[in-house]
């Protein structure tokens, strides 16, 4: 090995004081281990969603009033026919009480047959009659008769399909969770004014899930004819956490296989244990730092420590490879370690730095869970620079090798040369040309395949979990037996206070609902105008011909007077009315269709309302004036339509708004402005210009829509940044444009192929898989850097590319092949995970690690051959 300029520095700074350094590492590790023991699982709903996204602003604004996406459904199924048995109703009552008792559940929003807010109404000769679905005398009454009455009431109340399954074989308890709530266990604390200080605690979803699981166990044990199905975000997180615990098992398998491989590679127990040890130290540091910084680990980033371990081992293998090679050349272990350290600290450092940067680009995505994953991963990789590039050689320097070991190394190196010789063909024409052409073709295939890559979750149920998991089977049960499910998107119609008493406002909402009801993939829809129609029919003796939104604004308020805010169909000021849209599934295409339809309705509505304004203006001004006026008014009308209604309907009237804006700008003369505004004053309907603003979106699917959009929007910038970072690092470390091309181009081909793989395996681009693409590039570049950093030296010495490649392979070929294998094995065990996203991540990473290695071995030298010909 050629003498490295860094050697003296490395020797004086590190190895001469190796005892001190090792002790320091030991102390820090002990501290970090302490921190790590405090590590907590941290899963919050908000972390999973892009809070800055427009939809999520709506979500945050209204989550207290209408409940966000965070609903839990507990469905009790009667195993022997319809639900009308005493046993079933007792089970339902017990379950209802238990659900209400769970901490974090919003008790006012719990709905079931037993809720007082669940009522029926009907027409009679005396007018309207109504009452709770389960009548007060139910407990005493003769049960067969009482059950007939309850069944009738269920149908009259219109809750079949919502709180009772369509076939009457199951009943539902639906509960809303707070994201934080006042701690009931905390002692009362008063502030200076004697007011109670609110002591909010975050809802612990894992705990809620545990309590729900306990409820399931108890009910099913107590009432053998009742089966319980539970779905909802909190339950899903609970199941994911349980599943995430299994990663320890995969880790152990991966650890054992890796150990065996490293031993097979090094033929030395010492050299096997040391990289495993330093890599474990890196994981301890990583988790320690994470805890010290105040982060927890969530079920998604729980895999990252294992990834770090695998990366650590792969770099460790480079190190022991270097030491062995030097020992084989006759160095003493101490000197061999110094030389290996000096030789690898730059390429290894660059490689790890590019990993870190690859991870940091994930910060661009405005979803907290991805950002935390990025932080977790970058801390881990940064730590590896210390543990595996410094600590590892320091530790190796303490070891000694027998002569037979050294001879074995020499012998094996010799025997591998045959293989390296064969491989070096790829750095020679014509093979190089063929490989490059194949590479280009693969790139094209990848590009073609990647065009059909889907965004979002492609399958029904919870994407994090396997299709046959209990949770997803429960989801299937609920969506099949009920007309609702967790796949709901709520679009909020914002308007003025008491907006629901204006016919044109209600009509617009009704039209909107009808348009969405007709979108393919929509199962059912609910909104306030629909209720108004039903009640109007009932007010007219139940005559279906009167089942219409009353145009008479003296009648309209009567039809909604009885609708309570607990239905979630209106707020107390009647200025916000959600249109709830239940979907058959949450595939990205379905969501997109609904979002698209909602947006096109908005656009049409605005255009229609503008046309009405121009009609009024046209009636007041001459024909020549109209055109320029329209041009002035158009942007102002757009601006006005975007205004918020605010808490107390602070939105000015259109006339006031135009007066102010146009008086300010002076775009039109005062007299003309006056003509326009007085015409508008006289002729605009009382509810004003475009009185309804439809805001996307809450509900579980609303969150998914926002997440999909955020993920899709982040994809391109993220790739640009990753590649920019990798390219820049290569340029700096090789000081060669050609070299950078040789390293980066194979990565591009692999990225494209990986996206095509996602298309073919039906893996959607999601919060879980998006980071994988960045990770794959960041880590994939390691091989290229290790190979090219050596090769460029030989080329600069004047050797031909194929000779340079052969020499490089002698030095590092073993390690590169081996690194690819260890990394791939480390992550491939995830494929067995009970969690779908972990399995997906496992498939993707395994593919990217293996294929990136192949790219570095075959495509890189071929490109170099073509670019460096003299």
């Amino acid at each position: 090995m050629s003498k490295n300029k860094l050697e003296p520095l490395v020797k004086s700074l590190l190895f001469s004081k190796r005892g001190l350094w090792v002790a320091l590492f030991a102390i820090v590790t002990a501290i970090m281990a302490y921190f790590m023991s405090q590590l907590r699982i941290d899963a919050s709903f908000e972390k999973n969603i892009p809070l800055k996204h427009e939809y999520m602003q709506t979500y945050l604004e209204y989550q207290e009033e209408f409940g966000g996406a965070n609903r839990v459904f507990v469905a009790l199924e009667s195993k022997d026919g319809e639900i009308f048995t005493e046993e079933f109703f007792e089970a339902l009552r017990v379950a209802d009480d238990r659900v209400e008792g769970i901490e974090g559940v919003n008790q006012s929003q719990v709905q079931s047959l037993y809720s007082p807010s669940v009522r029926y109404i009907e027409a009679s000769e005396q007018g309207l009659e109504g009452g709770p679905v389960i009548p007060p005398e139910f407990e005493q009454a003769d049960k067969t008769e009482a059950f007939d009455k309850v069944k009738e009431n269920i149908l009259k109340a219109g809750i079949r399909g919502r709180l009772v399954s369509n076939n009457f074989k199951s009943a539902m308890i639906s509960a809303q969770l707070f994201s934080e709530y006042n701690d009931p266990k905390a002692e009362l604390k008063l502030d200076a004014d004697g007011q109670a200080i609110s002591q909010m605690v975050q809802t612990n979803y894992v705990e809620v899930a545990d309590q729900l699981e306990e409820l399931r166990r108890d009910i099913e044990a107590e009432y053998p004819n009742v089966e319980v199905h539970i779905i909802g975000f909190a339950k899903m997180i609970g199941d994911v956490s349980d599943g995430a615990g299994n990663v320890i098992f995969f880790f152990l398998i991966a650890f054992l296989i890796t150990a065996l491989l490293v031993f097979w590679y090094s033929r030395s127990i010492k050299l096997t244990l040391l990289p495993l040890l330093t890599s474990s130290v890196a994981v301890v540091w990583q988790l320690g730092i994470l805890t010290a910084l105040g982060y927890g680990i969530d079920p998604m980033s729980i895999l990252i420590p294992f990834l770090i371990f695998a990366i650590g081992v792969s770099h460790g293998v480079q190190m022991i490879n270097g030491v062995q090679h030097n020992v084989g050349l006759g160095f003493k272990v101490y000197d061999a370690a110094i030389a290996a350290c000096a030789g690898l600290i730059v390429p290894g450092g660059v490689a790890l730095l590019s990993d870190t940067i690859g991870f940091l680009t994930l910060q661009l995505i405005e979803i907290d869970i991805i950002r935390e994953l990025a932080i977790t991963a970058s801390i881990g990789v940064a730590v590896l620079i210390l543990t595996n590039l410094i600590l590892l050689p320091l530790l190796i320097s303490y070891t000694s090798f027998s002569d037979s070991f050294v001879k074995g190394v020499q012998k094996r190196e010799k025997s591998h040369e045959v293989l390296w010789h064969k491989l070096s063909v790829f750095a020679k024409r014509p093979m190089a040309l063929i490989v490059v052409i194949v590479g280009i073709l693969l790139g094209l295939v990848g590009y073609w395949g990647s065009q059909n890559m889907k965004v979002g979750d492609l399958h029904a149920g919870a994407p994090a979990l396997k299709q046959n998991s209990t949770y997803n089977l429960d989801t299937k049960f609920v969506t099949e037996e009920y007309s609702i499910g967790t796949d709901v998107i709520s679009i909020l119609a914002e308007t003025q206070t008491d907006g629901c008493t204006y016919y044109n406002i209600m009509e617009t909402i009704d039209d909107f609902q009808w348009q969405l009801a007709n979108v393919q993939g929509v199962q059912s829809t609910i909104s306030l105008p629909q209720v108004s129609k039903v009640v109007n029919g009932l007010l007219s003796e139940g005559n279906l011909k009167w089942k219409v939104l009353p145009k008479d604004e003296a009648v309209l308020p009567y039809t909604i007077a009885r609708v309570e805010t607990s239905t979630g169909l209106l707020n107390s000021g009647c200025s916000v009315m959600p249109v709830m849209v239940f979907l058959n599934d949450h595939k990205a295409e379905t969501i997109e269709r609904v979002v698209e339809s909602a947006k096109s309705f908005q656009a049409d509505y605005l255009a229609k309302e503008k046309a009405a304004v121009y009609d009024i203006v046209a009636g007041a001004v001459s024909e020549e004036e109209l055109e320029p006026l329209q041009q002035v008014l158009d942007p102002l009308l757009n601006e006005y339509s975007e205004l918020d209604y605010g808490e107390n309907s602070e939105r000015p009237t259109l006339v006031a708004f135009l007066d102010e804006k146009l008086a300010e700008s002076g775009d039109i003369e005062a007299s003309q402005l006056n003509t326009v505004t007085s015409a508008l004053e006289a002729e605009l309907p009382e509810s004003g210009f475009k009185p309804v603003k439809f805001r996307l979106a809450t509900g579980a699917v609303g969150v998914m829509a926002a997440t999909n959009e955020a993920v899709e929007a982040a994809q391109v910038p993220m790739m640009i940044w990753v590649y920019l970072a990798v390219t820049l690092l290569c340029l700096i470390s090789f000081r060669s444009v050609r070299g950078t091309i040789c390293v980066v181009l194979p990565l591009v081909v692999v990225s494209l192929l990986a996206q095509a793989l996602m298309t073919w395996l039906e893996i959607g681009l999601t919060v879980a898989t998006l980071p994988v693409i960045a990770l794959g590039v960041g880590i994939g570049v390691d091989y290229g850097i290790y190979i090219f950093s050596r090769m460029v030296g030989f080329i600069r010495e004047g050797r031909s590319v194929s000779e340079a490649y052969f020499e490089t392979l002698k030095l590092t070929g073993n390690a590169v092949l081996f690194t690819g294998l260890t990394l791939a094995i480390g992550v491939s065990t995830w494929i067995l995970s009970a969690l779908q996203y972990q399995a997906d991540m496992g498939i993707m990473l395994t593919f990217m690690f293996l294929v990136n290695m192949l790219g570095a071995i075959f495509l890189l030298p071929a490109l170099a051959c073509l670019l460096y010909r003299r």
Binding site: A123, S124, E125, L155, K156, R160, N166, W514, Q515, A517, N518, Q520, S540, E541, G542, N543, L544, K545, K547, V548, K551, D552, A554
Partner: protein, 337 residues
Amino acid sequence: MKNVLQTLIISFIILAAPISYGEPAVIAPKAVESLLLDIVKVSEQRLLTVGQRGHILISEDQGQNWRQVEVPVNVNLTAVDFLDENHGVAVGFDQTVLLTEDAGETWTVSHQEVSNLQPALFSVIYNSKDTITAVGSYGLYLETKDGGATWENRQIDSLSDVYDGFSHFYDIEKLNADTWYIAGEKYIAEADDYGDEFSKGMIAVTKDAGRTWEKVYSPYEGSFFGITVKANDIYVYGLRGNLFHSKDGGANWAKVPLGVQAGLHDMIITAAGNLVLVGTGGVMVEKSAKNNKAAKVSKRSDLKGRAALIEVANEQFIIVGEGGVRSSSKAETKAQQ
């Protein structure tokens, strides 16, 4: 001369300007599942149904498949009638009257007026090429004698209540060219000196093709939703499962026991002579006219209301209502009694 020209130009402009009737009905895949309120047999090959949002649908295979046609309005349509295989009329809210000359393929607005006092038309008869009569809310009575070119809103004073107000006219039926009947909401027939009021379900008859109307003795204090007449038989039906039968032009009525509490919206007399009624809560009642056997009651399993029906084959019906079109042979209607 100048003035005449000006007037001509102005009137031309007025005539040429498209008259705004709100917006046309939206063609929607779920129209066939929407609230549909009336159904007619246009010809042997063609059924036609009307309902909410200006929905008009046509079936050419006895009700199996339906296709929505373009309609210039999107108000709720409540009733439809055909003069022959081509000429038809549909009515609905905002006093909308639509006419077709091509068996329902295209429709034009013949009358429309937004009024909170008389918001809707509920029933219509197409009497002859030139005359159409439609009735509706609060005594609304519209007729044309020139095929829809002009419409007259007549107040039928003889059918007012004791305070000169009007109840809703829900149904108008034709026995022959001159004799027609109206059934409707209860009206206040009497008020005594103490302020107590006594109401009657509206039944009325004309013997001179609508020129004069008179009330018929009413056997019920609640509302009637419909009336069906055939030869000497008159049936009126309405709220709470009430069905009455008269064989003498309404002088005497007999209550027909059906054993249901639902509001009854429509009734037909089948080819075999049986009575079939539909109504709220998804009920369908089949009653043999020949014997005294109890009526057979069935319900839609989801209890969605039924508005109207026709017989397409022997004892086979197409029923419309909430939830759209259903065939009686479908399994959803399960016998309950």
